[in-house]
Symmetry: C3
Subunit: 280 residues, 3 copies
């Protein structure tokens, strides 16, 4: 069976219902910019967010969480220390780890920090834009601040290499999203261009991936399902938004009330057609 | 006179007008997640918010403030140090202190920190969910991250114990809010279920309690009035909201234009009927 | 030619189009309260925001940025250290620096910190409210938290003194905005009173000034253009807002779609008529 055939509206809906009924606790060590918006996105989809970065409580919080989301958007040394502590605790307790390498490649400090993190503990899912994924895999890409200077499709080789190296699922998001799990790839076509004009929607996708990984033991499906739901919520929001401000709010409303029918009507999934994958 | 008879629309309205005309400076040492939303809520109701956590300025900022709000949502050691400094300065200058024990009971670090804070300086008002209040009073409750795993009514005994111990007003918020002041209790029935899907609305209630405590020397009334106004703004917002995203925005709009008539029409106050209280 | 005659709708529009097409990277070391809202404002106008405060990456991030925005709203020692590092790097690489002295005058720590910053490196543009500008220039003004206790017009002498001392453009914002560049002044009359009820819109104006300074080498014009665009977006937003909550969202939408015609129709610029300026 092709990898893309595994991503179905029914499977996505099963996860949405599981998040809503189980309300998994998602422990975020994330950046200052998106703390409010990702907490709201997690609440809207039905999860229970907590933000905790003190070294003294990072391991304890992981111990009661269904997933850990580590996001390096606004780094400083104490936070990095807590990230290491939390990731080790998550590995030891088999709590899935989502890593969002915000701005990797933009500065040596940021690239070095994220390389140290993945060398210490392999995450379950890495979600980044093309530049960030290339910076993780090759240490050669450059990133323009936190916005990608590359297309997702051009990062598929890097994502494949990174996925094999870490034995992790790598999600490269952009106009089209690509989920890479070793040699398997899926391309996801949902979303709306206006979403790029709202800060932190990539971070929101990482946080949602944590919520879905808390209820679905298959990380490739968890990541794919989270990205589809987030992107479809964005599409639905864009239909009534007048710009990026109202889009952000409607997106939270749609995460809260997205239906199985809306997912089935809009789901755009295909086998990946670029990079190292064979033609579909 | 029953405690519940003291909470009237006229009394609430007097405080709203006092906040709007005096624009009290409310000094917040609060968590990263809610800084923007609580600052906006304070501005919307007519207060003047300031966020300042440096040890070097905490006491000076308290010195020009009408109230201090301390919220432990995203703790780290330097912040805890500033909380102690600010609370001592507030005690020395008779500035009312609102303490929000976010996530107390979720990790030992969080529980220990908040116990240290209240052992150092007794706050004027404590506002938390049931799990948090029970963790403060009994050190036995467990909290699921920052969301309560208990009903407010089951925390009334703990709140009473805590209120006596600290000589403080304890507000337990949930589907129904209970304000406990020693042996007196009031139950407040306003609010809307969708409010639980917006991050930080509990923190907003704590911040509003600070604004009202700055203009009303009776902390039990200040807390009750703040919670009623916040909850009624939430009800009004929910009537036009499509979900948690739009609810958050409309709530700010309604804090800004809530009227005496709306408060009088909607106020739901009663004597507490659970815990240690006698039947009404 | 009078200074005010230089601020034209065509000139403003040229900058808006340059921001939209060049998407300059704006490096912000700013306060926790406004990180999300200023990042969104920068994205809405077409710029690319990055927030980075680690001492270890501050200089590197400045090296790829089109402008640096330093905002002292929620100070602590490590952040101040990064501000110094970033400002020196910006000076050495001729990257324009916008300084927002939030709350200068409210506490000795805040006033001292900002005096140290400007003594170390002169910013290109200073944007503050009247109290803050007076605290920078005279060290005698007092600030009520982060809200001004003075009118912009009363700060023109202080702004002129500060502008000469630093060889910088000083923008004093309030009901009317005044841009001071040495002996030249311009008064800008756009905006809406409801904007004062949204937290961080002053900080947004500083961030927008950074975006415009990245594309316009004349800092007086860059600051004036940014303030006009922000204020007109606020006016347009207020027409459809029901309060401060919806205003904030519509403002982002209008930053995203503001047109040359809207700017031409609404631009209110005049020669300054107060302080040390000659009558118009």
């Amino acid at each position: 069976m092709q990898e893309s055939a595994r991503v179905t509206a029914d499977g996505i809906w099963t996860d949405v219902e599981a998040v809503r009924s189980q309300a998994p606790l998602v422990h975020n060590i994330t950046n200052y910019v998106v703390m409010n918006s990702t907490a709201n996105a997690l609440l809207a989809i039905g999860a229970s967010p907590v933000m905790a970065h003190a070294v003294d409580e990072a391991a304890d919080m992981v111990g009661i969480a269904g997933a850990l989301v580590v996001n390096i958007g606004t780094l400083s040394p104490h936070w990095v220390e807590a990230m290491h502590v939390a990731m080790r605790a998550a590995r030891d307790r088999s709590v899935p780890i989502v890593l969002d390498p915000v701005g990797a490649g933009a500065t040596p400090y940021r690239t070095r920090t994220v390389h140290d993190l993945i060398a210490d503990v392999a995450p379950t899912i890495v979600r980044g834009n093309a530049s960030e994924i290339m910076a993780l895999a090759t240490a050669e890409a450059t990133t323009k601040g936190v916005d990608s200077s590359e297309e997702a499709s051009s990062a598929v080789d890097a994502a494949t290499q990174l996925s094999r190296q870490l034995d992790a699922v790598v999600a490269v998001t952009g106009a089209t999203d690509v989920i890479v799990d070793g040699d398997n790839q899926v391309q996801l076509g949902n979303g709306h261009p206006l979403m790029a004009r709202v800060t932190g929607l990539g971070c929101t996708m990482s946080a949602l991936s944590g919520a879905f990984a808390a209820v679905n033991p298959d990380p490739a499906l968890a990541a794919a399902h989270a990205l589809v739901v987030g992107a479809i919520a964005g599409e639905l929001a864009a239909e009534h938004a007048e710009g990026p401000g109202t889009l952000q709010l409607h997106l939270l409303d749609r995460l809260h009330d997205v239906s199985c029918e809306q997912i089935a009507d809009r789901l755009r999934v295909s086998a990946a057609t670029s990079g190292t994958s064979a033609p579909a």
